[in-house]
Amino acid sequence: MSFHIKFFRVLLRTQWLPRVLMLLFMCGWIAFTPLSHAQTDEEIEEYQIKAVYLFNFANFFTWPSTAFQYNAQPFRICVLGNDPFGIDLDLVIEDEEVEGREVVVQRIPTLRKSVRCQILFVSQSERAKKTTILNYVRPYPILTVGDMEEFATRGGMVEFFNSASNEVRFSIAPETVKKGGLIASSNLLEIAKIIRPR
């Protein structure tokens, strides 16, 4: 039997003190592993991809002029419900402009505040209130985006879904987009899965 196994056995045979020491050792080991060491640029998370999509949509849809009340009004991307993006969405829109407008991200606590948004991302946490939300924003030129199941079939415009191999894809309901007064670019419609609302 090799040395490390013997060591391990001795450690376990004796009473609680060695076990505590072992745990302490583990803690120390992990606690002082440098952060930067672990962070690599290969790391891609689901919501990082979604954040980039969300920003890209700003350029692939056209909003009617009524969407903006004044010239300097920023282009608002809003998140309703628990924010799954964290800092990533803020990093994506940093220093960006859409048609000469500054892009801002707003986490909105109530539905009432959504009417000033251009893009409204409805978080999974709002699953139960999906219909209420979509009915509420229907009269406004707001691009509704969600990643819950049946978002687009139930009156949402863009729905993210994940492929079997963990890629982020999206479907679009063109009829809903049209009714909202928005225009989707043909490039976008080419890649998207087209869905008809029920």
Binding site: R19, M26, D41, I49, V52, N166
Partner: protein, 708 residues
């Protein structure tokens, strides 16, 4: 009396453990605090890198963006709710459908070889000995196995009849394997591990599928056919049928072991969205088949060859899930009936009716509660036919099991990625505490409690560490209390093994530590160490009497709770996506078992079970995707020897070549066990075994799947 003392001793032991954990918790809290103090707000360099990565992603066009893969296998069984692997405070491993397909595996028990820390030994053609974290054997009884939430371990002896646990292998979405106890949520028998087999939703299996498998040696032919369709606009269904024909293993001389078997099965699954918030799943299976066995008795009973066992059964399950604003409700009920008509042993019929309710409530980001209630009715009937080897008294028995569980999870510490008000909502959970317990009342031992305390620490997206202490019990089964078995120890000594009405639950206190390191979506490392203490462990042959007449001399024995034990081990897993087309998976585990008879024990041989589990197991798999839809996969499995079964170590090497010439057709050609002609995996027929284990051979196979 003895039992009482033992219970008291155990209680003190448990209190001691709680105290111990309190100290550990404090230590775990201090460690990250020191780190937080040193670093202050999140590292600026890390943030810069994040921004750089996002910048790269922004440069891609939409088409390219849709081909970027993200990484994170999800699992439901670890905490009965969905959670990412890095956030799971238990030793979880997920066997994906892709893993199964590319390992060229066609049955559920064989698929479990892919998980680290699981012992899989194929005893003969239709029988497997499977356990996690040791104590494997023909009677290994401490595993909870479920298919889509339906418990499938046998109420007779707490083992799993793997021969009837099957479905179309293509329909398996994933197999979640948790080593260690999960009793606080799942209840009795979730002692050494939980295996949760999850089939695909019927939405994922639309269209038609014909699958065929042809092979040499044991697995001769498998034919499956499936149709999936829509029910109205809100529902999907599938129906399948499967036939499998298995040939015999061979003995060490290459002679046919006469243990061939055949199974026919069919089933369906429907998933309906009855409203915006409610989903209903109804599924069921029906099966019928036979298996053959050879019994070589060391004693005076003549050997039995070609002994047929007819097996049949069906099950039906309904599940209703309602999504609430802050959680969900799941109501599930099933009925399972299974029958075995043995020629040698008694005929058994057993059924389970089960109903479960579960409510998950997440009032805010920092807290989550799950609680549930369950009721199970077990019925069985055991009739001996003509061979007086075994009988069960009473022949029929009905048992009721009531259970309740509650689990709470609290975020003790959290940190924001940067100190900014606007992202306060998205703060990361740094330290999470899970407290829970299952309370059960069963007709064998009465009230049982099974608590757990778990601490998960996720300092950042790359590292996570967890520690847990849990108590789990294996409640007695029918065999432990009511069965009578006649056998032979060698040629001239008979034994009668009687059930013991005073048999109590076996208890385990588990201590676990885990660490995961997710370098990027390309590299995952998972390490676990555990230390399990068993109390009142089952001894199989407690001697109670010795009779000289009538000859031959007979030892009367019974089951006892007269062993204690410690099992400890180490489990390692590394998954490495070296390039987009090449994935490597390596596992290693070490287990050491120490069993001790209590001074009062008169058991013959119980400590020998130590030697039924391999000390070392290792595997290395390579999954290589080649151009033009070719795949080349290899797998190497090493299993250490089993001293108690006198079976040598073995190395198994599998190769598979896959090709998908058209979108609707996939072919594979493969070989298993390339290195040797044949080897035993469990036992060489040690005396006293009524089942003689045989050997598995080198196999070549061809597989074709056609979808239309």
């Amino acid at each position: 009396m003895v039992a009482k003392i033992m219970i008291k001793k155990n209680r003190i032991h448990f209190l001691f453990r709680v105290f111990q954990l309190a100290i550990l918790s404090v230590l775990l809290i201090i460690a990250p605090l020191t780190q937080a103090a040193v670093e202050g707000p999140r590292d600026k360099a890390a943030l810069k890198k994040r921004a750089a990565l996002l910048k790269k992603l922004k440069k891609l066009n939409l088409k390219q963006l849709s081909t970027i893969q993200f990484f994170n296998p999800e699992a439901t069984s670890a905490s009965r709710t969905k959670r990412k692997l890095m956030d799971t405070a238990s030793a979880l491993f997920v066997i994906s459908s892709e893993d199964i397909r590319r390992a060229g595996i066609t049955s559920i028990p064989e698929a479990l070889r892919l998980a680290p820390g699981v012992q899989v030994a194929r005893v003969y053609s239709s029988r497997w000995a499977i356990s996690a974290r040791g104590l494997n054997g023909l009677m290994s009884s401490k595993l909870l196995v479920m298919i889509d939430g339906r418990t499938i371990y046998s109420g007779f002896n707490s083992t799993v009849y793997w021969d009837v646990q099957n479905t179309l292998i293509e329909d398996i979405d994933r197999i979640e394997v948790i080593r260690g106890p999960g009793a606080s949520l799942w209840g009795a028998n979730a002692v050494n591990g939980i295996i949760n087999i999850i089939t695909k939703k019927s939405k994922q299996t639309q269209g038609n599928l014909i699958t065929t498998y042809l092979g040499t040696t044991e697995e001769q032919a498998v034919v499956g056919i499936q149709h999936g369709g829509k029910i109205g606009s809100h529902g999907h269904y599938r129906v399948y049928g499967k036939f499998s024909e298995h040939d015999s293993f061979v003995d060490s001389q290459g002679q046919d072991a006469n243990d061939n078997w055949q199974m026919k099965r069919g089933g369906f699954r429907t998933d309906l969205d009855i409203s915006k918030l409610d989903n209903v799943t109804i599924q069921g299976d029906i099966y019928d088949g036979f298996k053959k066995q050879t019994y070589l008795h060391p004693g005076k009973i003549p050997e039995v060859r070609n002994a047929h066992t007819y097996i049949s059964g069906f099950n039906l399950l309904a599940r209703w899930q309602r999504n609430l604003t802050n959680g969900d409700i799941i109501m599930q009920s099933y009925y399972d009936l299974t029958e075995r008509q043995w020629t040698v042993f008694q005929n058994e019929t057993r059924s389970i009716y089960d109903i479960d309710f579960q409510h998950r409530w997440q009032p805010n980001v920092k807290q989550e509660f799950i609680w549930g209630l369950g009721f199970r009715h077990l019925y069985d009937e055991n009739k001996d036919e003509f061979m007086p080897i075994t009988r069960t008294i009473p022949e029929k028995r009905e048992d009721n099991l009531f259970s309740a569980f509650v689990q709470a999870e609290f975020t003790l510490l959290s940190n924001s990625p940067i100190s900014s008000k606007k992202i306060a909502q998205s703060e990361e959970k740094l330290l999470r505490l899970t407290l829970g317990s299952k309370f059960e009342h069963n007709d064998y031992t009465g009230f049982e409690y099974q608590p757990t305390i778990r601490l998960l620490w996720t300092p950042n997206a790359q590292h996570s560490a967890w520690a847990a202490i849990s108590r789990a019990v294996r409640v007695p089964s029918r065999m432990d209390q009511d069965n009578e078995f006649h056998g032979w120890f060698g040629k001239d000594l008979r034994f009668t093994l009687l059930g013991n009405h005073d048999f109590e639950s076996e208890i385990m206190i588990a201590h676990e530590l885990g660490y995961r390191f997710n370098l990027s979506n390309r590299f995952l490392f998972d390490a676990n160490i555990f230390y399990n203490e068993y109390d009142r462990a089952r001894t199989l042959f407690e001697q109670v009497d010795f009779q000289l007449s009538p000859p031959p001399p007979t030892v009367i024995t019974t089951y006892g709770n007269n062993m204690t034990g410690e099992v400890y081990g180490l489990e390692l897993l590394a998954q490495w996506q070296t390039t987009k087309n090449w994935r490597l998976v390596a596992t290693y585990n070490y287990v050491d078992i120490h069993l001790h008879h209590l001074p009062i024990s008169k058991d013959i041989g119980g400590e020998g079970e130590e030697g039924d589990t391999p000390h070392h197991q290792a595997s290395l798999r390579s999954l290589l995707t080649l151009p033009n839809n070719w795949e080349f996969d290899t797998a190497l499995y090493y299993v250490d020897n089993l001293p108690n079964q006198k079976s040598p170590n073995y190395t198994r090497f599998d190769v598979r070549l896959g090709w998908q010439p058209r979108k609707d057709l996939s072919l594979s050609l493969g070989a298993r066990n390339m290195f040797d002609n044949q080897h035993p995996e469990y036992g060489i027929g040690a005396s006293g075994n009524t089942d003689i284990p045989f050997e598995t051979q080198r196999t070549f196979y061809l597989q074709a799947n056609y979808r239309f």
